[in-house]
């Protein structure tokens, strides 16, 4: 791994974002976390001005994605990421309140790597995020395709 993995967190609810970040940190993951609170900004960052995603060539990214965004649905972002030749190797973790089985199935079909439902029970939530942090600390994230 030439570059450390950057975690892209696309989450419109700042409270959720804070809780997620806190619990990731608690699990001992110290990678950079870039928070985005809406889909447009996240898309602009991910795909760059020309929409090609060339900016991230050679970067290792891990995307944390909420499905319910104010300006677009996370599913669209997921699809675009998985269709982009530079970004498609980046693992995508969908972290959302939606526990509809159809939605979950659809995300996996589009190439999502992990799907986590945000439980209201905080212990489970914190636990899930910490597990995710542990997961982050061991998975190998390939750099974006050359």
């Amino acid at each position: 791994m030439s570059k450390p993995v950057t975690i892209i967190m696309i989450e419109d609810d700042e409270g959720h974002a804070r809780l997620i970040e806190r619990n990731i940190r608690r699990s001992g993951v110290n990678n950079d976390i870039m928070p985005f609170t809406n889909g447009t900004e996240a898309v602009n960052y991910l795909f760059g001005k020309d929409g090609s995603g060339l900016d991230h060539k050679g970067n290792a990214l891990l995307i944390l994605l909420d499905l319910n965004l104010p300006d677009m649905t996370g599913i669209d972002i997921l699809r675009r990421v998985k269709e982009n030749k530079y970004l498609k190797y980046a693992p995508v973790v969908v972290l959302t309140t939606t526990d509809d089985s159809q939605e979950i199935k659809r995300c996996y079909e589009l190439g999502c790597n992990v799907y986590i439902t945000k439980p209201v029970n905080y212990e489970s939530f914190a636990n899930a995020i910490r597990q995710l942090g542990l997961f982050f600390s061991v998975i190998q994230v390939p750099p974006a395709a050359p």
Binding site: H16, L19, P119, V120
Partner: protein, 508 residues
């Protein structure tokens, strides 16, 4: 077209037919009558001719007698005598016959009387002539003949005959006119009657056609109305379905969106809980530093010993957090329940043939443990097979059986019976228990979402029966409860035996 008008029209038709029939009868009767009269008239005409004929015959016989007498006088030939005798013999019978024929006419009877006396006179003269001839006195006979030729007798016979003929001719003319009139009348009556019948028939046909047209129009109208009605029903159904979908989406989105802040509330409450430990540890250490109290004994790793007010503060803090957490947990359960309900509402039902008894036996097996704990026995009577959605049916019966087990009377062994029968295309299922029962004033309430009744000593959200009733309705059935407090409950479910996927289910 009103019913009144229809009835009037029907009565009009009947009257018309009756009138036609009456006219026909009248025509037939008058025809028969007139034909009879015509026959009578013709008979009279013939009769007149016969009378004239008879008069002529009589005169001929008299002439024959005269000429034969003359021939005999001239030639003395016996053939003339025979001829004369034959003619004379025929005269009186001819007069009798004539009298008979004209017996109805007093004028003619008078004439006949005159004729008879004249003829008798003439016959007497004949007899005298013949006597003269037989006695060989032709001169006397000739004189007699001469006398007779100019006498009253001959002329009176002629006069009477002429009078009779005249009378008969008068009668003939009269009767001819009568006969003609009768025939003309008959033909007129027939023509008029036929015309009337044809007219009535035409009116009838017109009326029948008019009512047929009216009926056709009414039928067309009815068809149109039906189509319109169907269209209206479809439209309304579509509207309702749309509204229902809207509500489902609304419930789904709202419950989803409510969950998001709830995650935060719960998360930061837990964070606060963590902070609480830090804060009170610090308060404890500060208090210890400020006062000259002895070193406090650590109760736990994170729970420093607190004094007086601080301890109270810490307990209040914990209590508040505890309430917040339990409320969040409850809210989460409710939201989850709504989500599940809306998800159920969106699920498409699939009608399959179901052996209800087997299905319920399976459910009973899964609750066998609870049943044993409650010392309850569950009896399943023979149940009808139905075509319906398996999952929905499972949920319906497992909810009802669960409830029956859950709300048994403490201290009484439970007895739960599941019965079934069919009626008019519907299968009626009953789940009866001997449990604590439901107060009649709560019968409606128990089917409402998040509402419960009776002593709240069992966990639950008040969702089961609301869910069951929603399912039963979607399956085209109805549901009711019969129960009294402390006397057990019977839930009755009526479902179509053969449920088909309808529009109702085509909500996506």
């Amino acid at each position: 077209m009103t019913a009144d008008a229809t009835r009037r029209r029907a009565i009009g038709q009947i009257l018309l037919l009756a009138a036609g029939f009456l006219v026909l009868v009248a025509i037939s009767a008058s025809s028969v009558m007139l034909v009879n009269r015509a026959r009578e008239d013709s008979g009279l005409v013939v009769h007149t001719i016969e009378v004239e004929n008879q008069i002529n015959t009589l005169l001929l016989e008299i002439r024959r007698g005269e000429s034969a007498a003359r021939g005999y006088l001239l030639t003395l030939g016996p053939e003339f005598l025979a001829d004369h005798n034959a003619a004379v013999a025929a005269i009186l019978p001819d007069i009798d016959k004539l009298a008979q024929l004209t017996s109805d006419n007093p004028a003619q009877a008078e004439n006949i009387r005159k004729l008879r006396s004249a003829a008798q006179d003439r016959l007497a003269q004949f007899a005298k002539e013949m006597d003269f001839v037989k006695q060989g006195q032709p001169g006397g006979a000739v004189a007699l003949i001469r006398e007779a030729a100019v006498s009253d007798t001959t002329s009176s016979i002629r006069d009477v005959a002429v009078a009779m003929r005249g009378e008969e001719e008068r009668l003939f003319a009269l009767r001819n006119i009568n006969a003609d009139r009768t025939q003309r009348l008959a033909s007129r009556v027939t023509i008029a009657g036929s015309a009337l019948v044809i007219l009535l028939a035409a009116i009838s046909i017109f009326l029948v056609r008019r009512s047929a047209r009216a009926r056709d129009e009414a039928e067309a109208q009815l068809r149109d109305n039906n189509l319109n009605l169907e269209a209206t029903v479809d439209e309304r159904t579509a509207d309702l379905r749309e509204a229902n979908n809207e509500i489902q989406r609304f419930a789904y989105i709202v419950s989803h969106d409510l969950r998001s802040p709830l995650v935060n509330i719960m998360g930061f409450t837990s964070e606060l809980d963590e902070l609480r430990a830090d804060i009170f540890r610090r308060i404890a250490s500060l208090g210890r530093a400020a006062g000259s109290a002895p070193v406090p004994v650590l109760v736990g790793e994170n729970e420093p010993e607190l004094e007086g007010e601080d301890r109270q503060l810490s307990q209040d803090f914990s209590e508040a957090l505890g309430f917040i957490k339990s409320s969040i947990a409850k809210m989460d359960r409710l939201i989850t329940a709504i989500l599940n309900l809306t998800r159920e509402g969106r699920r498409e039902f699939e009608p399959v043939r179901i052996d209800t008894r087997e299905l319920i036996e399976t459910i009973v097996t899964t609750v066998a443990h609870q049943a044993a704990e409650a010392e309850a026995q569950i009896r399943i009577e023979p149940l009808p097979e139905i075509v319906s959605d398996r999952l929905a049916l499972e949920q319906i019966f497992s909810n009802l059986i669960d409830n029956a087990l859950k709300y048994l009377k403490p201290g009484t062994p439970g007895d739960i019976t599941i019965r079934g029968r069919t009626k008019l295309g519907f299968a009626i299922f009953e789940v009866a228990d001997n449990g604590r029962g439901i107060d009649p004033k709560d019968h409606q309430r128990i089917f409402d979402l998040f509402r419960r009744a009776g002593i709240q000593d069992k966990p639950g959200q008040g969702i089961g029966l609301a869910h069951v009733r929603a399912l039963v309705r979607r399956l085209g059935g109805t549901m009711s409860v019969h129960s009294e407090l402390n006397n057990g409950s019977t839930f009755t479910i009526t479902l179509p035996i053969k449920w088909a996927t309808t529009n109702r289910n085509r909500d996506t």
